[in-house]
Subunit: 195 residues, 2 copies
DNA sequence: TTTTATTGATTGATCAGTCAATAAAAAGCT
DNA sequence: AGCTTTTTATTGACTGATCAATCAATAAAA
């Protein structure tokens, strides 16, 4: 039943299916048949559109990054002060869109695979740098350079830490709770300012 | 060359080889042949001693937990006050023994696999609970119950966050830096006490 | 009739797990 | 002390399952 103009649609369907499958299973160790099956097509078609499995996985991670970036830009656009920028960054990472268990589990799976795959590592670096730079732009007007360095590392580590715990589901953080702990951290640092 | 009393020696050698192999590769997705080869024996022998691969992996995670526990007990024994207990807990997690890249990568691999494997999940729960309880025992004498809850979640998330970043090696935290960021967090919270 | 989308069938590689065979020590016997 | 027998440790060779990747064949638009 070949309708025309399928390629872009299929690509998207396959990437979405990949996110769901990876997120559900919590690992990149899923078969092309799993992903293609969820998208309602044969594994041969997935190979036809993406060539090797790696390329589908990379496209999938790029999609996750792109989704986060879009939401982040919107939130930052609404922030009126440096202090609000910080909260905006934190909140996006725990928003309904980003902090869903499947999405978090997929992120974690890519994080882990990035240890071995240079292309995935490159993508991850982009994310890490962007997060850091966004945090610094909110922090430097408020505290010393040194203090800002410490705090941006701390906030980034807290986000990753809550992600890992979320992926494990175990009696662990709901979005609000996690964001609240980070806000508490920021407040404590800002009120005991000296550097 | 069968010497007597090999079983306990071989078991240990295989577990050590598993930690190294898993840590080096950053995943549990290693073959029995890889592990056995590093221990200098055939894969058949690894199966002979552990039965299924799962059991070797579980034994390996138990070993990691046991190593951490021993070091933690020693450090807590030397701590003379609640405040020192907190620092001791943090420091152990970034000690030379625990914060080696291979060990950290192995921990992360088990963390991730625990999403799927109930036995590994059970082991992980033990660790999480013990960490939390140790932290609370240091925090409750110093701050309100509510504040202690928040801080122990925060410290635990920070530790996990720095572990994940360490596994990725990427221009990221040396042991001292990571521990320092957490100490800074604790200080900031304690000095802006009110709950 | 050509182009586009799609798949079933197949191939080759990799691995966990099994098992019968082997070799070296230890134990038993004289 | 020598010898046979038993026990213990170890492996090579094999099996069956799984999967990524390929490709020739098919079917529905254009």
């Amino acid at each position: 039943m070949p309708k025309l103009g399928m390629p872009p649609l299929r690509r998207k369907e396959l990437i979405d299916a990949a996110i769901l499958t990876i997120g559900e299973r919590g690992t990149l160790d899923v078969t092309m048949t799993d992903i293609a099956g969820r998208a309602g097509v044969s594994s041969a078609l997935a190979h036809h559109y993406f060539g090797a499995k790696d390329e589908l996985l990379q496209a999938t991670m790029r999609q996750l990054l792109a989704d986060l970036t879009v939401e982040m830009q919107q939130a930052l656009g609404r922030a009126a002060s440096p202090r609000e920028r910080i909260s905006a960054i934190v909140n996006v990472n725990f928003s309904v869109g980003q902090f869903r268990p499947e999405v978090v589990a997929a992120w974690l799976a890519f994080y882990v695979e990035a240890q071995r795959s240079p292309p995935l590592r490159r993508l991850l670096r982009i994310y890490v740098r962007r997060l850091r730079s966004n945090l610094m732009s909110g922090l430097t007007p408020l505290v010393s350079r040194n203090q800002a360095d410490i705090m941006s590392e701390g906030i980034a580590a807290l986000i990753d830490g809550f992600y890992i715990r979320r992926a494990l589901k175990d009696g662990l953080p709901n979005p609000r709770g996690a964001a609240a702990v980070i806000e508490h951290y920021v407040k404590a640092c800002l009120s005991s300012q000296p550097a």
